[in-house]
């Protein structure tokens, strides 16, 4: 079976599981420190503690989307199935992280600004990016031919990713008439450790998820690309009776 497999060997190594384990451990320790050890912030109080997951989620969501963009470029140049599987995995994980980011942003915005949603450039850009990548996911679902699916989703990913800076700047200009951007607050030393730990926690978790999901995608692809085995004289329903 391995010889006819067009996408190479499927390593069944334990690395993704180690990554997920490491990620969960880092997140557990980081969240404990963030919730119980780090002091509450002067102005926002305990609400600010969401920063310990929110900021790492933001970093890693951007990282996952950027990795998807890189996978799309590499696939278009090499036509290697490995990168198509990685593209599928990183788009899905990126969408998940971007969705979590929007949710966390809303949860933080309600007690802080009094509204669930604010048309802040970063928040709006994340939402646009989320919908753009959801569109790419839909595209993958609606195209049956594996080659077309791989090429088209790579093209759509590149087009969507190039849009990110344009969306960011247009929303920034658009919104600047209503409110001024608050300057990024400098983070105090005692906030460092939980922030760092959680950032690495989500990074490990994300890497593990992308690896596992890419393995699943390449197994499915192998299944799709392998011609069905020739079966001789299948019994017809009538003959069985």
């Amino acid at each position: 079976m391995e010889a006819t497999n067009p996408i190479g060997n499927h390593r069944t190594n334990a690395l993704p599981h180690v990554m997920v384990g490491l990620g969960v451990a880092c997140l557990a320790v980081g969240s404990y420190l963030g919730l119980f050890v780090a002091p509450p912030e002067t102005f926002m109080g305990n609400v600010q503690r969401i920063m310990y997951v929110h900021v790492p989620t933001a970093w890693n969501a951007m990282l996952a989307m950027t990795f998807a963009f890189a996978c799309a470029l590499i696939y278009l140049f090499t036509a290697s199935w490995k990168w198509d599987a990685r593209l599928e995995a990183s788009i899905e994980v990126g969408v998940l992280l971007a969705f979590m980011l929007c949710m966390q942003g809303s949860i933080w915005a309600k007690p802080t600004w009094g509204v669930w949603w604010d048309w802040d450039p970063r928040l709006t850009t994340t939402a646009v990016l989320l919908f753009a990548f959801l569109g790419v996911m839909a595209l993958r679902k609606f195209v049956d031919d594996p080659v077309k699916r791989a090429v088209w989703s790579s093209v759509a990913t590149i087009i969507a990713y190039v849009d990110v800076p344009i969306v960011y700047f247009s929303v920034k200009w658009w919104n600047s008439l209503h409110q001024t951007q608050s300057s990024p607050a400098t983070v105090s030393k005692s906030f460092y450790l939980p922030l760092r730990l959680n950032a690495f926690g989500i990074l490990f978790l994300m890497t593990g998820f992308i690896m596992l999901r890419a393995r699943l995608a390449s197994l499915r692809l192998a299944d799709e690309l392998t011609p069905p085995p020739v079966q001789e004289s299948l019994p017809v329903a009538g003959e069985l009776a």
């Binding site: 278009l76 646009v128 990016l129 919908f131 753009a132 959801l134 569109g135 790419v136 839909a138 595209l139 609606f142 195209v143 049956d144 077309k148 090429v151 088209w152 790579s154 093209v155 759509a156 590149i158 087009i159 969507a160 190039v162 849009d163 344009i166 969306v167 700047f169 247009s170 929303v171 200009w173 658009w174």
Partner: protein
Amino acid sequence: MELTASIRKELLLQWRTRAQFLAVLVFGATALLLFSFAIGPDASSLRLYSAGFLWLALLLSSTLTLAESFQSEMENRAFEGLLLLPADPRGLYYGKAIANWIQLTVLGLALVPVMVVLYDAGTLRLPALIGIILLGSAGISAPGTLYAAMAAQARAKQMLLPLLLFPLIVPVLLASVKACSLIILGDPMGQGSSWMMLLVAFDAIYWSLCGLLFERVVED
């Protein structure tokens, strides 16, 4: 040469199916009529939001015309024949994109009088308004034509095109609405030109990028 032949073919096709264009125009005008019910009969707020309604109506109508530009090629597998021609597929793409651009511009201009009548949103700065409609339609047409090529060959085609296109053209919508609003309501700070520049930048990026990528989308 390839490009002019391609544009001529598309425009001829559009001319012969002009009843369809009229139907899309009626759809856009109906959308404009419906938007006013969301706001209520208050004349001043209708005028305030008129540019937004115009662009939303144009955007919704555009999915119909864009989808149609490739749907007709799928009948009798005409598209495969086109690709077999010894011509650069980029000529085919730019022909379709330019024809769609022209059609969307005409549609946008035709919706302006409807907007003026319904929302009392008249302006005398017509050249600037035409310029924005040209730039905005170009921004919808370039990625829209590319996505329509994919959607026409996929399952659930009617759903796929807006799903892919709408998030992408948020900057076009934002800039066009803002620039049109400034023309209709007055532009004391002179901000209109910076929104036009944003549209020019978006158009330049996507007209070149989509032309490059189209070849990969249609190759077999």
